[in-house]
Symmetry: C2
Subunit: 277 residues, 2 copies
């Protein structure tokens, strides 16, 4: 059941992946690779990887599965660095929050007899680094696997099964549809949370309750990571923000008109949707 | 140390208040009053009140402190119902999320030798009813006490001390300033969370992760309660939504322009504020 796995980037995601694989799949050898030796040493000490190297070629040359767990902005560079060193039949995937540009780069750079399929495990946290990695990060969360018409079906199936083995629910979408949906349900909440913080003054923040704390939690996330996600998925993120502005304008007018019945109906509808989650 | 306390409205807030007072202040007699006998019977069974009556006059005639814990839209009606039956020196406060109109009604209806001071304990939850009441609801949360130039300072001080005894941090603002700040930090997050739900499709919600769940948690709140809060504080809520739209438009343009430096700076700024909370 075990195989040779290479994890590129050993932060929260990569470190948790190593811990989860160790717990769920017997007999894997897990090799870590990253830019910074310090993270790799720490990941090894925490048991997330068996051994490590700073050399991309050495890291992937015997791997059956490679998972690129770096921030979105670095994934293409790493795909480029490993592409010439993969063994035949090797499968490469990633954990990036955007998919269209990454999958396009992956399919261009990773060629048969190796394969690339994009993944987006919807798991993470506002803290970063391998120190906050945990074996259960992926459990009961959703993972989107983004096969295209260039993907060999058996390869997509193997990647899907890998995430399922880690306790994830797998959903499939093509990369463009993934990016449209992720903009709405993941990237927009981040922009909204940050904009909500940007509305406050020290006096208003001083009065915060649990509602504000919950609603803005994601805004504490890593700025560089989110900059790259927003820019890589700019078209969909802009469209999502425009939709959000429309929705806010609509409720704003209902309130300004003191239209109690429409306001209650609107609030009831959203509460009903939210309660079912 | 004990005194006679009347709690009007025994839902999550009123029930939790009874449980908290029982735990923190020895020798109080706690009388419950509400429209519905069922809630009162349940509150008594849970130990939140010692005895109850459906009659407002009987409920308050011997009370030293009366706390109105009904939804915002019903507070004025209850103040009117009890005003003629208070004993000299009785202090009346409330827990409403808006203050200007409630304090205005309170000062008009509750006359010397009884007194009214508004309170807003920033505590609650998306579930309602005395069944979810808990003695620690108020602990470590903030309570705004809204004295005016018509308030006897010693009376405001007694109300502030009451909330402090329950473990709350007390902040003072006049009612208008409270409503402006509460619109930003409490009412706006609710409107934003509901609007964020309103942007989704079944396909996008299917992909939700913890970010969406956290950011929209408050949207599951009681629609009638929030309808009344939004309408009672309509001017400030509309101004807050307008500010939010401005902030969203600003980040939308930064993303549309692919302005990486401005985007990172803006995200860093909001993350920095959020992290300190």
């Amino acid at each position: 059941m075990g195989f040779r796995l290479t994890i590129i980037g050993v932060g929260l995601l990569g470190g948790s992946l190593g811990l989860a694989v160790r717990e769920r799949i017997k007999g894997c050898e897990i090799i870590g690779c990253a830019h910074r030796e310090k993270s790799l040493v720490q990941a090894q000490a925490l048991g997330a990887i068996d051994r490590w190297t700073l050399d991309p070629a050495e890291a992937v040359s015997e791997a059956e599965l490679v998972v690129v767990c770096t921030p979105v902005g670095l994934i293409e560079t790493w795909l480029d660095a490993i592409s010439a060193h993969l063994q035949p039949g090797a499968i490469v995937t990633d954990v990036g929050s955007t998919k269209a540009s990454i999958v396009s780069a992956g399919e261009r750079l990773i060629r048969s007899p190796a394969s690339f399929v994009g993944s987006h495990p919807m798991a993470g946290g506002s803290q970063k680094g391998v120190a906050v990695a945990r074996a259960d990060l992926f459990e009961d969360a959703t993972c989107i696997v983004t096969a295209t018409d260039r993907t060999v079906p058996a390869v997509a199936e193997q990647v899907a099964q890998f995430w399922q083995t880690l306790g994830m629910r797998v959903v499939r979408h093509d990369p463009a549809e993934h990016d449209r949906l992720a903009a709405l349900v993941s990237h927009l909440p981040h922009a909204v949370a940050a904009a909500l913080v940007a509305c406050q003054s020290p006096a208003s923040i001083d009065l915060r309750g649990r509602g504000f704390t919950d609603t803005t939690r994601v805004a504490a996330g890593d700025a560089e990571l989110w900059r790259d996600i927003f820019l890589d998925n700019a078209g969909n993120v802009v469209a999502s923000i425009d939709l959000m502005i429309e929705r806010l304008q609509s409720v704003r007018h209902i309130i300004a008109d003191r239209d109690a019945a429409s306001l209650e109906a609107w609030l009831k509808k959203q509460a009903g949707i939210r309660e079912t989650l």
